[in-house]
């Protein structure tokens, strides 16, 4: 028996790796919104509208990741 034995699904590790990219992307989006608001506070409304769409598109990658983690979790 090996000294350190781990059981479980590699899908979890895969999802952890897959969440890195969307995490960075969502951070970049809202960093830009904060910067833009600091430079031009009256443009906040217009920026937030675009930011939510960009957030949803970026977040879709993490969401596809969790769906695939379940798909490949049984392998």
């Amino acid at each position: 028996m090996s000294p350190l034995e781990l059981t479980g699904s590699l899908g979890i590790v895969g999802y952890g790796l897959a969440a890195i990219g969307p995490g960075i992307g969502v951070g970049l989006i809202f960093a830009s919104v904060i910067q833009g608001t600091a430079r031009q506070p009256e443009a906040r409304g217009a920026m937030m509208g675009t930011a939510w769409i960009g957030f949803a598109v970026t977040e879709a990658l993490a969401i596809i990741g969790i769906a695939l983690a379940f798909v490949f979790g049984g392998l």
Binding site: A56, I63, A67
Partner: protein, 271 residues
């Protein structure tokens, strides 16, 4: 089996060890298991029917007996209407938005109510967390935006506009046309459905982990540290419900905004 416990199936198998929540928790049994021809009638179908009725009653009652000086109810309806009209339809589609307004309002309110079943205490299960509902909605959007584009530009005209951005040099066509076809015709409905479905799925799973794990640690934890951790987890699940409320509203908004963006892209003239 009562309606209340249907969403929280692992509670009933508790006692013989902890069962982590999994994708199987989303396969609920039919409401009338003894009636064979009602096998399709499960909790999701009941919630969707009730949601349809609620949306219908809300908009029909808002559209009747409008006065120049609005009452409180009329003010609520007008605010909801203006939200969809101004910030979703007009901002994304442009001057031709009026034709699509009923479709967008119906889509937004139907998805919103179906998502909000996830935090409604009697149901606690969003309808769209079962992938078939999300696939159906995205399929409808796919048919509508393609049909609108074909109706405006003709079949080959629409196909050319959808797959070939203007200004691409001829020697790049072999690369651009398959890529654009793949992204505009095939990937769009898939990501639209997956985004809605997986957000609701992951959110409900998160709630299950906090509530069921907390309950197990609190009642069967075995040591005082585990019991305290379970209690904290149960309290923290209220914050998770708050996050879910935000995500559910946001996803209904995003779905409708993306529908409007797709409609405007298939209506667009060449630049």
């Amino acid at each position: 089996m009562s309606l209340l416990t249907l969403g929280l199936l692992p509670l009933e198998t508790g006692g013989e060890g902890y069962h982590p929540p999994s994708a199987d928790d989303f396969n609920v049994p039919p409401l009338f298991p003894d009636v064979p021809w009602l096998a399709w009638f499960d909790k999701y179908m009941l919630m969707a029917i009730v949601a349809t009725l609620l949306v219908l009653i809300f908009w029909v009652s808002m559209a009747r007996k409008n006065k120049l000086v609005p009452s409180k109810g009329q003010y609520l309806g007008e605010t909801a209407y203006f939200f969809v009209r101004n910030s979703i339809a007009r901002d994304n589609i442009g001057h031709d938005y009026r034709r699509f307004l009923p479709w967008l309002i119906a889509l937004f309110s139907f998805i919103l109510v179906n998502n909000l079943w996830g935090i409604f205490p009697l149901t606690l299960l969003p309808t769209t967390s079962h992938s078939g509902w999300a696939y159906g909605l995205a399929g409808m959007v796919w048919i509508v935006y393609n049909a609108v584009g074909i109706g405006k530009h003709g079949f080959f005209g629409y196909l050319r506009r959808a797959t070939l951005p203007s200004g691409v040099p001829v020697f790049m066509w072999w690369l651009i046309i398959p890529l654009e076809f793949f992204s505009n015709i095939i990937v769009r409905p898939i990501t639209l459905a997956l985004r809605l479905f997986a957000n609701m799925f992951a959110g409900h799973l998160l709630v299950l982990v906090f509530v069921l794990g907390g309950e197990y640690l609190l009642l069967h934890g075995g040591s005082i540290v585990n019991n305290v951790a379970g209690g904290v987890s149960l309290v923290f699940s209220m914050a998770i419900f708050g996050l879910e409320l935000f995500v559910q509203c946001l996803q209904a908004f995003i779905f409708t905004v993306l529908t409007a963006v797709y409609l405007s892209s298939s209506l667009a003239e060449e630049h």
